[in-house]
């Protein structure tokens, strides 16, 4: 049969057998199918890259009364965007400093060197990091050790007797909150 079909074709056109045609059609169809599967897969995985700022929101840290003037205290907020199975990982800690003049500073817990949790020592007025020995002064500025900069500070505002911070993003050097 195929022999006859070949013979029937005009000589100028190169002969394409039915098998060739089906093979090529199959390649095209599968490429299209792969794109229909592959592009959504990439989008699904990469969607997390663009959540950033959209996931930030104002969240309450506590009553103003719970932050006495002149002291630095540990507070934590619930990440504004969570899944039901997030558990404790959505409770983000931070250090709240109420300056003697009543103004606030809210520091991220993460050391600016490699992200370990810094600890506050009121007696010496220093934040110390347990990982590589970074030290910061009470105003968050770098005191010594490997950190390249001072502690990250959250944006904050006071609403209805509550201190609120703009949370939802773990700070690091490429995005300092």
């Amino acid at each position: 049969m195929e022999e006859h079909e070949h013979e029937a074709l005009p000589p100028a056109v190169p002969p394409v057998s039915r098998r060739d045609f089906l093979f090529r059609l199959g390649l095209v169809l599968n490429t299209v199918a792969a794109a229909f599967v592959g592009i959504p897969v990439l989008g699904y995985i990469a969607s997390s890259m663009f959540k950033g700022k959209a996931q930030q929101a104002w969240v309450a840290l506590g009553n103003l009364d719970s932050f006495p003037t002149g002291q630095t205290r540990l507070a934590s907020y619930r990440n504004p965007f969570t899944t039901p199975w997030d558990g404790a990982t959505a409770d983000v800690p931070c250090w709240v400093r109420r300056k003697p003049d009543g103004d606030f500073q809210v520091f991220a817990i993460n050391c600016t060197h490699l992200g370990c949790p810094v600890r506050w020592f009121p007696q010496s007025g220093l934040f110390m990091c347990p990982c590589h020995g970074g030290v910061y002064y009470e105003d968050g500025s770098r005191a010594s050790g490997p950190p390249p900069r001072g502690l990250y500070q959250y944006e904050f505002r006071v609403r209805g007797g509550h201190l609120e911070v703009r949370g939802g993003e773990t700070p690091n050097l490429s995005e300092a909150v």
Partner: protein
């Protein structure tokens, strides 16, 4: 017996197992390749099999969700029958696998076995080495204890230093802007699907290459490799004195693998699994994160390198190290294979080995970390306060209360970040002590704002007593009066 043989033949006629054997386990290798030095690859394969079997079992119980992951690990350890034992096998299997794949890599490097025609075998093997490290890190992460949580934060911070793509890279790895449920799911998917798939795929290619190219002969000094005649010579050697990989060639592999298996079982049974150190709750900040042993050298390197180098190391040096690993067969093109004719290769292995072991040892001690509890847990020893004046006693109290001891040891007790203060009076004059306390410097924070003048006087008075009885304290030679203890010279 005849009937059994007939049954065997019935299956062989259909499955062609005999032919499969001839081309795989039964293929002929040079006699010199059946060396006791060539046992590390097969032992690594044994570890992989243990990891696959125990890993699948652990996945039957483990829950990859932050609110239950830790509880499911504890359930494995304490409730699930033999759960602790399988966790222990998986943990020790991973330790042995990292160790063996590293030894295998070093042995292949030293014996020049990566040279023609086995360049691709080396590159695929390098991929297997990196995939094994990837398994180790992701496995340590899905334990989801405090070390795991902060380990992820550290990796994320490292990624965050990449220029331009830092933010996207961190979000991609975290599955969002913070470490949470999607992060754990990602590491879980990497650990049980993505990297094992990659590992098995690469392993198939690695073994295929070994079967096609044969196993390299034991290197001989002064017998350089000739690309022109290599294939012919190899075939001639195998034809002349070759033996089958199994059973003749593989006896040493089997014995060594059995020894490794015994070691893993003994470690698992008597030392047990790695006990998780508290749930991954970021608000529990009283934690001192440490990586598992294979990343201690990296951890130490980041503490010890000058801060201005860190960006360079992350962006250029670490990727360059990976590229160099893959490029070894193309950078080392000499014809000699025996290590005695390749002193550079030996020196390189010794240098890298000594550096990594030293860094890991430093990582265990981590003298650069403040000892966070030293100020409240390590009092000034009696010999440093005996017979001191009231003012000096106040100074000793301040030394504790102001957390000085977190960084400064007294006769070895306390933090190692700063110098030991036991003999500080011999090194610094009272003036210098005051300046150092008030202004800091050389890695010490300034205490000017947190010490009243009388406190500085008391502290320096105490520090001035810290010298051996037979050694005089340091004095300012420009001032004949010198410094009187506790009375810093007025400018």
């Amino acid at each position: 017996m005849n009937r059994l043989r007939a049954l065997g033949k019935w299956f062989d006629d259909r499955l062609a197992l005999g032919r499969l054997y001839d081309h795989t386990l039964g293929h002929r290798i040079p006699l010199s390749s059946a060396s006791a030095w060539y046992v590390f690859g097969s032992a690594t394969l044994l570890c992989l099999i243990i990891q696959l079997v125990t890993g699948i079992c652990l996945a039957l119980v483990y829950v990859p969700a932050p609110d239950q992951a830790y509880a499911s690990i504890e359930y494995l350890d304490y409730v699930q029958p033999l759960g602790w034992y399988l966790r222990a096998l998986h943990y020790w299997g991973s330790n042995f696998m990292v160790a063996l794949v590293t030894i295998h890599l070093i042995q292949v490097f030293l014996f020049g076995a990566y040279k023609y025609p086995r360049e691709l075998t080396w590159m695929v093997g390098s991929g297997l080495f990196l995939a094994t490290l990837g398994m180790a890190f992701t496995g340590q992460t899905i334990r989801f204890d405090q070390d795991a949580y902060w380990g992820v934060e550290i990796i994320v911070s490292i990624l965050g230093r990449l220029p331009l793509v830092g933010e996207y890279a961190t979000h991609l790895l975290q599955g969002g802007p913070i470490v949470g449920s999607e992060t754990l799911s990602r590491f879980f998917a990497l650990h049980v699907f993505v990297i094992p798939g990659l590992l098995i795929g690469l392993l198939v290619v690695h073994i295929r290459l070994v079967l096609v190219l044969g196993i390299s002969e034991y290197p001989e000094a002064g017998k350089p490799l000739d690309k022109e005649t290599y294939a012919e010579d190899y075939e001639a050697t195998v034809a002349r004195s070759g033996i089958r990989l199994m059973p003749e060639g593989g006896g040493k592999d089997l014995v060594f693998s059995a020894l490794i298996l015994t070691a893993i079982i003994l470690c698992a049974a008597f030392i047990g699994p790695k006990i998780p150190n508290g749930p991954a709750d970021p608000s529990l900040i009283h934690t001192v994160p440490r990586p598992d042993f294979y990343f201690l050298s990296l951890f130490a390197a980041f503490a010890l390198m000058p801060p201005y180098l860190e960006g360079f190391v992350i962006v250029y040096l670490m990727p360059l190290a990976v590229v160099l690993l893959f490029a070894v067969p193309f950078l080392s093109r000499g014809a000699e294979r025996h290590p005695s004719r390749r002193p550079g290769a030996v020196v390189l292995v010794v240098l890298v080995g000594v550096s990594l072991v030293t860094l890991a040892y430093e990582g265990v001690l981590s003298p650069w970390s403040p000892e966070m509890d030293a100020w409240s847990g390590q009092p000034v020893q009696p010999q440093f306060v005996e017979g001191r004046s009231p003012l000096e006693h106040v100074g000793a109290t301040l030394l504790q209360a102001k957390q000085c001891r977190n960084c400064h040891a007294l006769d070895g007790k306390g933090g190692k970040r700063g110098p030991d203060l036991a003999g500080v009076a011999m090194r610094l004059t009272p003036d210098q002590l005051v300046r150092q306390v008030l202004q800091g410097g050389g890695n010490m924070p300034a205490y000017g704002k947190h010490l009243a003048p009388h406190e500085v006087s008391a502290l320096v008075a105490f520090l001035e007593t810290l010298h051996p009885a037979n050694a005089a304290p340091a004095r300012n030679s420009a001032q004949p009066s010198g410094g009187v203890a506790g009375q810093p010279d007025k400018p």
